[in-house]
């Protein structure tokens, strides 16, 4: 059997990546992409990911620290909180590059999702205390918000917060928490009647139990059970409209970044597959010379490039100041496109690889599994098309 991993490391085919056509002010993005690539390879590539599978270590703490040193953990954090104060385009580039090498680090969960929620909250003490530590990689908070599979409405919260003794008693169960395995703190949503609140809950807090379950791609989803946990009032990071908006903004940002990760998966798996089509011989010819496969490969390429184009538009357009509806529409549009495209490209890549694509030792399966997880997390394509519909059809009808 040809060594499948050798193929994966050294493809000769290059599929244009996100921002590959960037010019002028955006040219720094292609340089950033190169340095992420170089980092991802240097940090062990896919062999590292295979090594972490089946352990309770979802990611490498050392790698995380190196990413902090490169400034990547503070991309969205303003300079006065110790970050770089950049935008979604830079974040997308880093996320895409790490995802191409299937890095398991909870980059999106911590650096996009949790960080944005904190930034959009109004607890200045937490911000000045924690954001610098996030940027330096010393603390990893993740957002614990979802309570039911398939329900992506962050305002639907059954968890309760009852005001007592300079603080709150919190109870509830949060599921599908990405990055939970090695997280130090959780941002937890809970409700006091009609008032939605967000709390900073350290992992070691009394009344808090974390369980982990294995995902298709070897990473973990956490389930956080909170039972009558007492949280001091200063750890409430937002409530009311501010909390609702912070959650919505954070989730939309993370949805765009997850789409960038999907772009990384699909572009890379397509490169591997195109290389395979050029080298694998059947019936005396490279299989890439069969027209039926060629046309399918062209379709996959189109799906990749459409995904990239929408991602670029979303990343360039969305900022914390974007109108909430416009932001939601773009986020849903890009997640729907990228989820479908990545799954399609991964599935077809297995088919094109034939029996080898079904083996664990071939990297294609790993890419497909990452695509499965990213497509489902934060809402799959159908969910996002329906959200788009809800936001637009009133206008059309």
């Amino acid at each position: 059997m040809p060594d499948p991993n050798r193929l994966a490391q050294t493809t000769t085919t290059r599929v244009p990546r996100i921002f590959a056509n960037a010019s002028g002010a955006a040219e720094h993005l292609t340089k950033l992409a190169d340095s992420v690539d170089e980092f991802a390879h240097r940090s062990g590539g896919i062999a590292r990911i295979r090594g972490l599978r089946g352990t309770q270590h979802e990611h490498d703490a050392a790698i995380w620290k190196q990413m902090a040193d490169l400034g990547w953990l503070g991309i969205l954090i303003p300079a006065h909180y110790g970050g770089l104060g950049l935008g979604l385009s830079e974040m997308a580039i880093v996320a895409e590059g790490l995802s191409r090498m299937l890095a398991p680090e909870p980059y999106n969960a911590v650096v996009a999702l949790a960080t944005t929620v904190i930034l959009e909250s109004d607890n200045e003490v937490i911000k000045s205390e924690q954001l610098p530590h996030i940027a330096s990689g010393d603390i990893l908070p993740v957002l614990a918000w979802q309570e039911e599979a398939g329900n992506l409405d962050s305002a639907v919260v059954a968890s309760t917060a009852v005001a007592v003794d300079n603080g709150y008693r919190i109870s509830g169960c949060k599921k599908y928490i990405a990055g939970a395995a090695q997280a130090d703190a959780f941002l937890v949503s809970a409700r006091d009647g009609s008032d939605l609140m967000l709390f900073w809950i350290p992992r070691e807090c009394k009344g808090v139990l974390l369980q982990s379950e294995t995902l298709a791609d070897g990473r973990l989803f956490g389930t956080l059970t909170v039972q009558d946990a007492w949280i001091p009032a200063p750890q409430r990071i937002a409530h009311g409209a501010t909390a609702v908006a912070a959650l919505a903004t954070g989730l939309d940002f993370a949805t765009v970044v997850a789409s960038a990760e999907l772009c990384g998966v699909m572009d890379r798996v397509l490169e591997i597959t195109l290389d395979y089509m050029k080298t694998r011989v059947q019936f005396g010819k490279p299989i890439g010379s069969f027209q039926a496969l060629q046309h399918r490969a062209v379709d996959l390429y189109m799906h990749s490039q459409f995904s990239n184009a929408v991602l670029e538009e979303a990343a360039q357009t969305i900022s914390p100041n974007t109108d909430a509806t416009a932001r939601a529409l773009l986020a849903s549009r890009v997640k729907a496109r990228c989820s479908d495209a990545a799954l399609r490209i991964a599935r077809e890549s297995i088919q094109i690889h034939g029996a080898m694509g079904f083996t664990d030792e071939c990297d294609i399966g790993l890419y497909m599994k990452r695509a499965l997880v990213l497509a489902a997390w934060l809402g799959n394509a159908t969910h996002h098309r329906r959200r788009y519909a809800q936001l637009t059809i009133a206008a059309a009808a």
């Binding site: 056509n21 046309h295 329906r386």
Partner: protein, 388 residues
């Protein structure tokens, strides 16, 4: 002639507003959103208005009477045309042979043909396709032989739009049968359609219109000075301007008309509360929204003056596929009304569903079928081995 405004100096939005205002004020409302190819008599009034405004040829340089629009402004002009449903006039002279003459023609050709094309005295049709050279244009079999100061043309052309109301045609013919490659030995020649030996047969399409013709050449003698560019160099001449055409053909505006019809009917029938319909409608709507994202990416490249890579074909493939799928859905939601001829009424909304459906069909065929586009992408973009 008065001094022409420098449109390129205008702010994009100013220019867009100016174009939109003109179209809304001057374009005959009864001609909005015509799906078929228009014919000269019905478009003459509009042509004259454009001519009076100096807007017949947005793509021509100012010195030859055009608007001299840069790529970005040109796209705005086209965008506004499609938005308002402004039909294309029989404008091959403006979009195609005009620019070719400007680029490859002799001074004499320029001075003779360009003003007459602009004024509408000369109306052009394109003679490229042949019965056995459609997708495979290099296989063309029409010939021209030098005979003194004349070229003698024999053969036939097909799928020639508006040949029956045109005054001139420009044809590619084989002038050297011994050339090493099929693409060599081809020349581009202008032919006055009144010349002896030409027979024109209109061909009716499935929508019921004679939108194209078959043109037969039987020892047709034209002066040698009708050659455009060098003899045997017609392939290069004819293939010029193609990448911009691919961009224009990839604009998501065209299918959007079908999308609007779907919305009208769905609203009239209360279908927006049907989640099954909504799922399909939104999926198609997003095909267009996302197409627009990619389209804009290419537009930016054109505006920056970059040459488009062959993967611009993506736009056309996606656009035409989506257009067809939209009209498929349109027919479906029309139910029994969707298979009746003519404009049908849906609780106040109107649509000619069948015409929409019919005119979406050739989208995947003309200008290089979607199969040919995929072959090109496979070879020049993905660099996959030639299928032997």
């Amino acid at each position: 002639m008065s001094i022409r405004p420098d449109y390129n100096a205008l702010d994009d939005e100013d220019f867009r507003r100016q174009v939109r205002t003109f179209f809304e004020a001057e374009y005959p409302p009864e001609l909005r959103y015509i799906l078929r190819r228009t014919r000269w008599p019905e478009m003459k009034t509009w042509w004259d208005r454009l001519h009076a405004q100096g807007w017949v040829a947005p793509n021509w340089p100012v010195e030859w009477g055009g608007m001299g629009l840069a790529a970005g402004k040109m796209l705005i002009y086209l965008d506004e045309m499609e938005r308002h449903g402004v039909a294309r006039t029989p404008d091959q002279g403006i979009t195609h042979i005009g620019p070719i003459i400007i680029r490859y023609g002799t001074e004499q050709q320029k001075r003779h043909y360009l003003p007459r094309t602009l004024s509408g005295e000369y109306i052009w049709c394109q003679g490229y396709s042949e019965p056995n050279a459609g997708s495979d244009l290099a296989s063309l079999q029409s010939t021209a032989v030098l005979d003194g100061d004349h070229l003698v043309i024999n053969g036939q052309k097909i799928w020639t739009s508006v040949a029956d109301c045109a005054t001139h045609t420009y044809v590619v013919v084989r002038t050297d049968k011994t050339a090493a490659k099929k693409q060599l030995g081809i020349s581009l020649i202008i032919v006055d359609l009144k010349t002896l030996g030409i027979t024109i047969r209109p061909i009716r399409n499935i929508a019921g219109h004679a939108s194209f013709c078959q043109v037969f050449f039987d020892n047709v003698r034209v002066p040698r000075e009708n050659l455009v560019g060098k003899i045997n160099d017609g392939w290069t001449v004819a293939k010029a301007l193609l990448s911009f055409e691919h961009l224009v053909i990839g604009s998501p505006r065209r299918p959007q008309y079908a999308l609007r019809r779907i919305e009208l009917i769905a609203r009239a029938r209360g279908m927006f509360s049907d989640q099954g319909f909504v799922d399909r409608y939104i999926a198609l709507k997003l095909e267009l929204e996302d197409l627009n994202s990619l389209f804009v990416r290419f537009v930016e490249q054109v505006k920056r003056g970059e040459t488009l890579a062959p993967d611009v074909s993506m736009l056309k493939i996606w656009n035409m596929d989506t257009w067809q799928r939209l009209t498929d859905l349109l027919v479906e939601i029309g139910a029994e009304e969707g298979v009746l001829d003519g404009i049908r009424e849906f609780s106040g909304a109107e649509a000619d569903i069948l015409q929409c459906f019919y005119y979406a069909r050739p989208g995947t065929i003309y200008g290089g079928s979607n199969e040919i586009q995929r072959n090109i992408m496979s070879r020049y973009v993905l660099k996959l081995p030639l299928s032997s």
